[in-house]
């Protein structure tokens, strides 16, 4: 049985501190390749940079189950060199520009330190304070004379992984929590299924890696493993927060519907039944917007029954996100149990 201990937390730390902005996932890909080496029957890196690992089971009538976790994270690309180590930049993936001023970043292959500053408050006119600082006014500053980076290089938040009480604070928990969980599943692949693990690229810019990975694997069904935005903060006026997606501490979030996918009810039911039977805490993600790799996978080929399972997380796509270790542990436990107990006839009944 895979579980989360110090080894897994150290791996997660390494994964979170690595830089893998969409389109440049090499650092995380290398960690993945190292970690699954010797555990899969076949490992390949495809045309887009996805890591596709297969582990064949041994029983009869095995289902081909694809699991997908995306390696990429949101970040930045240097766009223009203004001299003296100052660069204009663009965001890669969905980032609220209000999250950027006053942050430190790492830039390029060498992780050179840089900062995104802001005009000193003393020089800001009072009525300007209520407006957000637009991206046009922000720069990445590496210090005068920097010649080691150039337009086209990637950058991301410099936040370092840390633990506090029951929580993790780190950048890119979306979706390094999923990547680390999927590594554990490859290392503990159940024998009753063929496990097809896709560590995908470019999820944050349109689920592009998952689309081709699903085509290549041609699975019977798929589960996307991600970290969903919890949005479980208090509302400003003290009213009930009815807009939350998930709540931290209540266990893995099973998706019924998100912005890109109506999950296959048979898979939802199997996950819920497994959680109930194994007494693993779980929650149903509030149906609504957002999405995961399942959005691309379920419409691939002649259609692939799909579902997503997420570790609840707060503040995805910002400098620092927060998740509970217990939720991560339960997500891994639920996935492993659901795979191990997956009956070959799971999809023989007609979809409702």
């Amino acid at each position: 049985m895979p579980t989360i201990g110090n080894t897994q937390l150290q791996l997660l730390e390494k994964l979170c501190n690595a830089m893998a902005v969409s389109g440049d996932e090499g650092e995380v890909r290398q960690i993945v390749l190292d970690e699954i080496k010797g555990y899969a029957d076949q490992v390949k890196v495809d045309a887009l940079g996805n890591v596709l690992a297969t582990h064949a089971g041994s029983g009869e009538n095995r289902l081909k189950v694809m699991l997908a976790a995306h390696m990429d994270e949101v970040g930045f690309m240097l766009a223009a060199d203004e001299g003296e180590g100052i660069f204009r930049f663009e965001t890669v993936g969905s980032i609220d520009v209000r999250q950027l001023p006053g942050k430190s970043v790492i830039v390029g292959k060498e992780h050179l330190p840089g900062v995104i500053g802001a005009r000193p408050i003393h020089l800001v006119k009072e009525d300007e304070l209520k407006n957000k600082i637009p991206l046009d006014n922000l720069r990445i500053d590496l210090g005068p004379g920097s010649t080691k980076v150039k337009p086209g290089d990637r950058a991301t938040f410099a936040t370092r992984f840390q633990r506090t009480g029951p929580s993790i604070i780190a950048k890119a928990l979306d979706d390094r929590l999923g990547v680390a969980a999927l590594i554990e599943l490859v290392r503990h692949a159940p024998a009753n299924i063929d496990l097809l693990a896709a560590f995908t690229v470019q999820e944050e810019v349109g689920l592009r890696g998952a689309k081709v990975a699903a085509y290549a694997f041609d699975p019977d069904l798929a589960i996307a493993v991600d970290s969903t935005l919890a949005n479980d903060l208090p509302a400003w006026d003290g009213e009930e927060n009815t807009a939350y997606n998930t709540k931290l501490g209540l266990g893995p979030a099973i998706y019924v519907a998100d912005g890109g996918t109506l999950s296959d009810p048979r898979l939802v039911h199997h996950l819920v039944a497994t959680a109930e039977a194994e007494a693993i805490p779980y929650q149903l993600r509030q149906p609504g917007g957002g999405g995961a790799d399942a959005g691309a996978i379920h419409r691939q080929r002649a259609g692939i029954p799909s579902v997503s399972v997420s570790v609840p997380g707060r503040y995805a796509h910002t400098a620092a996100s927060v998740a509970r270790i217990e939720d991560w542990k339960n997500t891994l436990a639920l996935l492993h149990a659901a795979l191990s107990k997956m009956p070959p006839e799971l999809l023989t009944s007609e979809r409702v």
């Binding site: 840089g114 209520k130 006014n137 210090g143 005068p144 009480g165 903060l233």
Partner: protein, 353 residues
């Protein structure tokens, strides 16, 4: 000249919000103790170091001051779910706060993040605009029961951004305003170890500058120097700041000029910088300098004052950027001024400017 960078980095790691300066004061005291003849803390917590001069008694004395306090946040409430509500200590632009790593100084130091609730959890009129401080929260990642036990209303919150060495011998970090100046005063003290000076020199790290120059008023009253030299940071040119009141990064300190400045001191510093070929700029301050010199000038019967500035980028954000060279230059300029000061310098000043 000694390498001041390691000490500056140590200063940048130390908390020390206005009114809560003890952690940084301790580090400065350790560094200054061997460099001065006497060292103590004032009733409000400012650090006073004395280097005795060589002139006959009664010796004139000067004060050279840099504030050691820093801007930050403070807990104003704890929500049902264990999130913290906030107010600012000093002047903080709430727009640099979302996603900012912080340390909450509760019963123990707790890591946390300033967070911006999603649009749907905020008043509808905010929409896509900046979110005011009253609607931002801190998440310390702990269950509410623990939060209530460890954190109280009124606990100070500092930014956790560690110092970063950038290219071109520049350093980015939180509290560069005004720890860069504390480092420069340390350079000055080191210079003075081998330079006799006639005047007594009070080297002072003041408290509560960001909340109203409180340390400068009280320390200059207590020490009653004949001259006050204040070192603070000023605005460097860079993204978002390129007007006449900004100065190039790494091209030397500024010498301020305006009603807050005694003309004799301006003239002496300007001539000295030119004679020694220390790069510098003249900073025009038509009203006041916004520094501790604003306080020292009107303390007791009035103290001739001047402010010098170290240009930094992104002032009052957790990623302020300073050029180490400018720190060395500011420290040296002040040391040279002190070493060249005749006992009757102020006595000879006439109002013919």
């Amino acid at each position: 000249m000694s390498d001041i960078l390691p000490f500056l980095k140590e200063l940048l790691y130390a908390p020390g919000l206005s009114g809560y300066e003890a952690p940084v004061a301790k580090i400065i005291a350790e560094k200054w103790r061997p460099l001065v003849h006497k060292l103590n803390r004032s009733r409000l917590g400012s650090l006073h170091g004395l280097r005795r001069g060589t002139a006959a008694e009664p010796r004139p004395s000067l004060l050279v001051a840099a504030h050691m306090d820093a801007i930050g946040l403070m807990v104003t409430g704890i929500t049902e779910g264990g999130f913290l509500r906030l107010t600012a200590i000093g002047s903080v632009d709430a727009r640099v706060l979302p996603g900012q790593p912080v340390t909450v100084h509760g019963r123990e130091g707790l890591p946390g993040i300033v967070v911006q609730p999603s649009t749907r959890l905020l008043p509808p009129e905010i929409g896509n605009n900046s979110v005011p401080l009253e609607h931002l929260l801190v998440d310390v990642g702990l269950p509410p029961r623990k939060v209530n036990k460890l954190i109280h209303i009124g606990d100070p919150i500092s930014f956790t951004q560690p110092p970063l060495e950038l290219t071109g011998e520049t350093l980015a970090g939180y509290t560069v305003d005004n720890r860069a100046s504390v480092a420069a005063l340390t350079v000055c003290l080191e210079e003075l170890q081998n330079r006799p000076h006639t005047w007594d020199v009070w080297v002072v790290a003041t408290v509560q500058e960001e909340t109203g120059w409180i340390g400068a008023y009280s320390s200059s009253y207590q020490l009653r120097p004949q001259i006050a030299i204040v070192l603070d940071t000023t605005w460097a040119k860079g993204p978002g700041a390129n007007d006449w009141n900004t100065f190039p990064l790494g091209k030397g300190p500024t010498i301020t000029w305006g009603p807050n400045i005694h003309p004799a001191l301006y003239k002496a510093f300007k001539e000295l910088a030119e004679r020694l070929e220390i790069p510098h700029a003249v900073e025009i301050t038509p009203l006041h300098t916004g520094t501790d010199a604003f306080a020292t000038q009107v303390t007791a019967e009035g103290i001739p004052s001047i402010a010098l500035g170290i240009p930094i980028r992104y002032m009052h954000t957790p990623v302020e950027v300073v050029a180490v060279k400018d720190i060395q230059r500011a420290g040296r300029l002040i040391a040279e001024f002190i070493a060249g000061l005749h006992p009757d310098f102020m006595a000879k000043v006439t109002w013919d400017y």
